[in-house]
Subunit: 239 residues, 2 copies
């Protein structure tokens, strides 16, 4: 990460795209996005839908998006949550393979795929950064496959809370209090459960004093070790 001290901050409305502040082409990912246009989304507003042409790559500044797929009969599976710092829209297809919708008020920056590709051609290390970001996405996807394929309801919720906790920690939010910038429905569609089961799982974790519900979307992870044990499936007769 580089110093953000001198970065031109965008303010509210006009959101001009960029002014060529220096003649040198941007070479780092951070520099690319510093000159990128800002966009705001209201909760439930879509950034793009599955099948739409893939025109831009986005970086979440604040708020959160969910990336999801839907089946013909309406069942929805959220494949990942994009939180501040995350890139959205990577990949090589001509069209998006998932839909992207804000789950809370969200600010993000957008960069035309063409511009990014060109910058990557000029600077291979930038290309590597994109490769790395995609690799991280795949890593997260594998973790979710494990969770959804093997864990029971409480295990899934425990794993989810720990994962969100780790991500906020990596963004500097120390401490054991985490904010969930999404509804129970979103969590359910992410974990492959129903809202009722998610709600019941929260209640059980609360009752057993492993977590504390400060608000419905603000959770204190009181006992992370216990949460980890639950996520790993203690409570079984061991294998």
């Amino acid at each position: 990460m580089l110093s953000l001290s001198t970065i031109p901050q965008e303010r509210a409305a006009p959101e001009r795209a960029w002014q060529p502040q220096s003649r040198s082409a941007p070479s780092t990912l951070a520099e690319c996005f510093q000159i990128a246009a800002v966009r705001r989304l209201e909760p439930r507003e879509h950034l793009f839908c599955e099948g739409d042409p893939r025109t831009h790559v986005y970086r979440v500044e604040t708020g959160a998006l969910c990336l999801y797929k839907v089946m013909a009969d309406g069942r929805r599976q959220i494949v990942s949550f994009a939180l501040p710092g995350d890139l959205v829209g990577l990949g090589t297809g001509l069209s998006h393979m998932v839909s992207a919708q804000a789950t809370s008020p969200t600010r993000l920056r957008s960069l035309a795929t063409g511009a990014l590709d060109q910058a990557a051609r000029q600077d291979p290390s930038l290309g590597h950064k994109l490769y790395e970001a995609l690799s991280d996405d795949l890593h997260s996807a594998c973790d979710l496959i494990l969770t959804v394929g093997q864990r029971g309801a409480i295990e899934r919720v425990a794993a989810f809370l720990l994962a969100i906790g780790r991500r906020s920690a990596r963004r500097g939010q120390a401490g054991s209090i985490i904010v969930l910038p999404m509804t129970r429905t979103d969590i359910a569609d992410f974990l492959g459960l129903t809202i009722e089961t998610v709600s019941r799982s929260f209640t059980k974790l609360k009752t057993s004093s492993v977590i504390r519900l400060i608000e419905t979307s603000v959770v204190e992870l009181v006992d992370k070790e216990a949460l980890q044990r639950l996520a790993d499936g203690a409570e079984r007769e061991a294998a």
Copy 2:
């Protein structure tokens, strides 16, 4: 990653690695692997385990691998099957994020990551191919998340058979007869089901004449449209 210009040969078969047929550095992915060392794996033999240092990238020639993660208590989730033509071991981490095990007699070629990275630096289009392969893996992972998170047992098996069918078609195996180079246990661990449930689902599909079991691992997809409807969740009161 260091340069392993003299690629480590696996013992066993003669299978000489390469004869420098031309002095020009290989530039396409296919060329890179044509000069790569061959390796053979027996069923159940591991190529690498989760956490092992990531030293090589592999391409499956014949046979099949499963890539999986295991939980502390032994539950296993297969994250993908690598079939002929597929690349294994991509990504940027220092160590593998999954284990890789042959599910049938398998022949593959291995390329040191350092050599591949170097080749990619010389030819950006090769780097793009790797990026594309990783993007495809992510795409497949998302499909599996949808399957495991939202579909019922028969829906999962139907979707699995169709996916395998599409993949063999892409490799030139036309027709509706597919070979499953893995056990029922592997299929179960891939779909997040038990072997009993997988077996019962096969039986139901067979009974309703949607598939025909030529051998336990050779299936004829008699009615692909019906299979697709099943995978999409017809049989529900529509949403």
